[in-house]
């Protein structure tokens, strides 16, 4: 190679090397751009496609009764998902999943297809499957099926307190409270879902996971409800409604001093473990006692008389002229239930439940004062109990009162209230004149709920006087409540009510009544208030609502260990006989009452009726105790055998029952000691097993 050629070669080589070095510099600059300048952007893009956020559901808090009995629990169940991009054959997969999980094959196939097209890596197949389904699916060992532990809501006590508890519905894969405490305290119970960051490959296979936010379990709620009292209330309410061929009913039992509601029962009822069905009676899921107001009738005379004691010079022995049994008031004729009472004391007006007497007293009080006391007793406004659908009832403003309104209001018409409001009003008398706020929640998580200072609405003397007069209702031989079953060892007082049901459509009062009884015990230092309302009965307050009142009151006094204030008497009759007697009494009385009804159905004016004192078959057994009975479920030789739960823990029992698809009702705590029906007996389809736990 000559020198010239060599020089040229070196020159060209230099150019070439220069070009390659330039290329290298370009690569370097590009690296700087990607890895230094735009690093964050690319890192975000990388994480976005590589990571999948999976929600970790929080366990819903339990709901307990005041003694720690579980009323609502969340039990572990499996939910099934698939990674659609890993499903080998969509039609076979949907066939298999649909047949095991009992879901629609077509619908599932459609969802799978859709997910594959959208390149989704995750699809819920079915949430909260049954343990048996889970077991079958797991036995197939298909690696594209994923199981996720979740929890399922169970109400171990079955229908007990169902209206207070409410129920859940599922929205966007999330359980939400639909009614009752489940709804009112949903945010407390629900907790906070956590998130898990799942590292995935391009086919959305999870390779590694990292919990970025731990799920926070919901708080548990302890109610003021006592399961035993609640159970008794539901049992006797059912008896009262069914034996009187009434349509609905409700019972509220509460502590008049603290406002704690011990029982809130409604009929018809439902099992919150089951989804709403068409077979349920209409309104089975309504908390009638708090949400559906009605005209209270004579029980309201307590308010009229309290107002009179406070605002007029009428005293219990002041004589009121009740005339001859009928009264013309601005063209409206008001009748007594049966006959005129002549001139009687104010105390006897209450005992007889004289309509004319109540009107006379109401007129003395005056419209303004009467309305004031209606409000003071808490009517026309919500009690503030934590239930989502509480009704405030209706109290007309003074401007809208007609000339005859004062007469109506004095005897509990032209006004509507709920059973809960009546219990609250009765508590004013029972606790010495304070308006308490009813409470359903004892503890929210571990924190005891604040007790609100009650407001004084009437003088203590008035309350004490009213108590004595209300005791008269049940101890005076002519008192409307005289034939109420006695409660062994306790004095009690109360007021009956039998409001004719006003048919809005035809503007007439019908021959059906809202039969009610509100009362307290013991008289001198009342610890319990119970209000029973039975709607649509043909019978009057005392015979229809009375037996249930006595039974629930007796149970509440026993459970709450209230000191006795009377010597105990021995009950010669069994509980069942007593109930039969009560039923017979009701029917006989209903017949009597029908005769007693005054023929003013044609009148568009409201009217009120009150029961008479003669309740024939209740005999003269002055004191009858009502022991609390256990539910004995009849055995029928069909269906599966009851397993042996004895010696097992509550959780084990719950899980076994869920697995076997059995409904159980639990009571007590500790290990299972007794069960009804006993092990090995044949269960009727849908029959529940009641298991008694003890330590």
């Amino acid at each position: 190679m000559d020198a010239g050629a060599r020089l040229r070669a070196v020159k060209r080589l230099t150019w070439l090397v220069g070009a390659i070095v330039l290329w290298g510099v370009a690569i370097f600059l590009k690296l700087i751009s990607l890895q230094l300048i735009h690093h964050k952007k690319y890192l975000a893009m990388a994480r976005q496609q590589q990571e999948m956020k999976v929600e970790l559901p929080a366990a819903r808090g339990n709901i307990y009764d005041r003694n720690g009995q579980p009323l609502a629990m969340s039990l572990p169940v499996d939910s099934v998902s698939v990674n659609p991009r890993r499903v080998p054959n969509l039609s076979i997969a949907s066939e298999v999943l649909a047949s095991i999980l009992n879901i629609d094959r077509e619908e599932l196939a459609g969802r799978l297809q859709n997910a594959v097209e959208l390149k989704k890596g995750f699809l819920w197949v079915k949430r909260k499957i049954r343990p048996a389904e889970s077991e079958r699916l797991k036995s197939l060992h298909l690696d594209w099926i994923d199981f996720h532990p979740e929890s399922s809501r169970t109400y171990p006590a079955g229908p007990v307190a169902s209206h207070v508890l409410g129920m859940l519905y599922v929205e966007e894969d999330e359980e939400r409270g639909a009614a009752g405490i489940e709804k009112a305290l949903d945010s407390e119970l629900r907790g906070h879902a956590g998130t898990e960051r799942l590292l995935t490959d391009v086919h959305r296979r999870g390779l590694d996971s990292q919990i970025s936010l731990a799920a926070q379990a919901g708080k548990s709620i302890t109610l003021t409800i006592d399961e035993a009292i609640q159970f008794t209330a539901e049992k006797y309410l059912r008896l009262a409604v069914e034996s009187n061929h009434a349509s609905t009913g409700s019972i509220v039992a509460m502590n008049p001093n603290s406002g704690e509601v011990y029982a809130m029962a409604n009929y018809p009822t439902y099992d919150p473990n089951l989804p709403p069905s068409k077979n349920e009676p209409p309104g089975a899921r309504l908390n009638l006692g708090a949400s559906v107001p009605f005209e209270p009738g004579s029980v309201f005379k307590v308010v009229t008389l309290s107002a009179a004691l406070e605002t007029t010079n009428i005293r219990p022995d002041t004589i009121i002229n009740c005339g001859s049994g009928a009264m013309n008031f601005f063209g409206r004729v008001v009748h007594e239930a049966k006959h005129g009472y002549g001139s009687i004391s104010m105390a006897d007006v209450l005992a007889h439940s004289s309509n004319i007497g109540a009107i006379q007293i109401g007129l003395k009080v005056g419209e303004k004062n009467l309305l004031d006391y209606v409000h003071r007793f808490g009517f026309g406004s919500k009690s503030g109990v934590p239930l989502p659908a509480e009704a405030s009832g209706r109290v007309r403003k003074l401007e809208r009162w007609t000339k005859t309104s004062i007469a109506s209001v004095a005897m509990g018409q032209e006004i509507s209230t709920t059973t809960l409001q009546l219990a609250r009003a009765c508590s004013v008398i029972a606790n010495g004149g304070l308006l308490v706020k009813p409470r359903l929640v004892l503890k929210d998580g571990d924190i005891a709920q604040q007790y609100e200072q009650p407001v004084r609405v009437i003088r203590p003397e008035t309350a004490i006087t009213m108590r004595q007069m209300m005791e008269g209702v049940v101890i005076k031989p002519f008192g409307t409540g005289f034939h109420l079953p006695r409660i062994s060892g306790y004095s009690f007082g109360g007021k009956t009510g039998s409001a004719q049901i006003y048919d809005v459509a035809s503007h007439h009062y019908t021959h059906l009544y809202n039969a009610s009884f509100m009362g307290f015990a013991p008289v001198n230092n009342p610890s319990i208030v119970v209000v029973v309302t039975v709607n649509g009965s043909k019978g009057f307050g005392a015979p229809v609502a009375g037996p249930a009142f006595s039974a629930v009151m007796a149970e509440a006094l026993r459970v709450m260990d209230v000191p006795k204030d009377l010597p105990e008497t021995i009950d010669p009759k069994s509980d069942d006989q007593k109930m039969l007697l009560a039923k017979a009494a009701t029917r006989a009385d209903a017949d009597n009452a029908a005769d007693a009804v005054m023929g003013d159905e044609s009148s568009p004016q409201p009217n009120i009726l009150e029961e008479e004192d003669t309740v024939p078959s209740m005999a003269t057994a002055a004191a009858v105790t009502i022991p609390v009975a256990q539910v004995i479920i009849p055995k029928k030789p069909e269906g599966s055998q009851a397993p042996n739960f004895r010696g097992k823990t509550m959780r084990a029992v719950m899980e076994e029952a869920t697995e076997l698809g059995l409904r159980i009702m639990v009571a007590g705590s500790g290990v299972a000691r007794q069960q009804v029906p006993p092990p090995g007996s044949i269960l009727q389809p849908g029959e529940a097993i009641r298991v008694q736990f003890a330590r």
């Binding site: 190679m1 050629a5 040229r8 070669a9 070196v10 060209r12 080589l13 070439l16 090397v17 390659i20 070095v21 290329w23 290298g24 370009a26 690569i27 370097f28 590009k30 690296l31 700087i32 990607l34 890895q35 230094l36 735009h38 690093h39 952007k41 690319y42 890192l43 893009m45 990388a46 496609q49 590589q50 590292l199 995935t200 490959d201 391009v202 086919h203 390779l207």
Partner: protein
């Protein structure tokens, strides 16, 4: 020849370090995929170890053999002839890709072996005719040989063909090819590339995906969408820019210091060919800017040592051998990096010394064996 030769330790160390680093990166990039596909996370690593042992042995053998032994028509023509025959054979045997000859459990890519063969042939030929480069008796046979090999390679492997053409062009350019011939060669080469690209839908798809991912320009002069339809025939990439995007995400996510060895996530099947053509993306993701610049600098070392040998070696054969080898390796390395960084449309070429692949490693280390030997004599 009593002169004691000194090994080019800088070059040698760089090569060995890169090969070992490559093995490590292949394990990192392939373990998850290998586990999923073949049931063993070491599937590719074991294979690579076999090839490393073989290829390093061959490299050491060549390093110890004087390069001028090869300056013989027998070697030059035998090499190019063997490559042409095997290219024909692979065209007939591998009916699909025309890329692989399977020998037992190993596959060989003749196109890879064409690189050292062509370099040896060109060095021999140019040394022989160094005084009459621009003579047609030199140019026509040389052009025919280069053309034959390139056509043989381009059927299966456009990337390698481009590397070969670039190498041939470089060597001729330095050897003193007149500008007009350079221009003619450039025009022919460009026409060839355009034809080669258009003949395979996946190639066109990659080029269009690089230049015009949203089809806005294509839409302009092809309103009927025939081109788009044609590109859809490509089974390799449904989304024409997918590979490039995934690769850029991996590199960008690496940052300055990287995610750490084995900590990269783009290799979880997001990156196509993570252990072969896109291994540089895995290096960048796991070792960050430090790692990616490190590999870039390693190729810089090869360039430096290669050009140094080219300048210092006294004979023409050694000069063109060193230049050819250096050009082949550095151009291929830079091209691979440019593809990974999205500076060029996707081509199926591996990163020399790092990527998984027996033929590639064999070819690369054979070439480097030659360069080491030339460098020893230059020193």
């Amino acid at each position: 020849m009593a002169l004691r030769l000194r090994t080019d330790w800088i070059l040698f160390t760089t090569i060995i370090a890169m090969v070992f680093f490559g093995g490590l990166m292949i394990y990192s990039a392939s373990s998850v995929m290998a586990e999923l596909k073949f049931g063993s996370s070491y599937y590719f690593v074991f294979r690579q170890v076999f090839w490393v042992v073989t290829a390093v042995s061959i490299m050491m053998l060549i390093k110890r053999t004087h390069y001028r032994t090869l300056q013989h028509p027998g070697f030059a023509f035998a090499a190019i002839g063997l490559v042409l025959i095997s290219l024909l054979a692979v065209y007939l045997i591998d009916g699909q890709q025309h890329r692989w000859i399977r020998l037992g459990f190993v596959g060989v890519q003749p196109s890879e072996l064409a690189k050292p063969a062509l370099v040896v042939f060109l060095a021999y030929f140019l040394a022989l005719r160094s005084r009459a480069i621009n003579n047609k008796h030199t140019l026509i046979p040389a052009a025919m040989a280069v053309g034959l090999v390139t056509v043989g390679v381009v059927v299966a492997d456009l990337g390698t063909a481009v590397v070969l053409m670039a190498t041939a062009a470089t060597v001729f350019f330095v050897a003193g090819l007149e500008w007009r011939y350079c221009l003619i060669a450039l025009v022919i080469a460009m026409l060839g590339v355009v034809y080669a690209v258009a003949s395979k839908p996946y190639r066109l798809a990659r080029v269009v995906g690089y230049l015009d991912p949203q089809f806005t320009i294509v839409q302009h002069f092809d309103p009927q969408g025939r081109v788009k339809e044609y590109l859809k025939k490509s089974l390799v990439t449904k989304d024409t820019s997918y590979q490039g995007d995934q690769s850029k995400i991996a590199v960008g996510a690496g940052g300055v210091t990287g995610q750490g060895l084995m900590q990269g996530r783009q290799k979880l099947l997001y990156l196509p060919e993570a252990h072969t053509d896109f291994i540089y993306a895995v290096v960048s993701e796991e070792f960050g800017l430090l790692g990616s610049v490190g590999v870039l600098l390693a190729f810089g070392v090869i360039l430096w040592r290669g050009i140094r040998a080219t300048i210092l070696i006294p004979d023409d054969f050694g000069r063109y051998l060193a230049l050819g080898v250096t050009t082949v390796l550095v151009v291929q390395g830079f091209m691979n990096m440019s593809v990974v960084l999205g500076m060029m449309p996707t081509k199926g070429i591996p990163l020399p010394m790092i990527s998984f692949g027996g033929s590639s490693l064999l070819s690369t280390l054979t070439s480097l064996g030659l360069l080491l030997n030339v460098s020893e004599h230059a020193g």
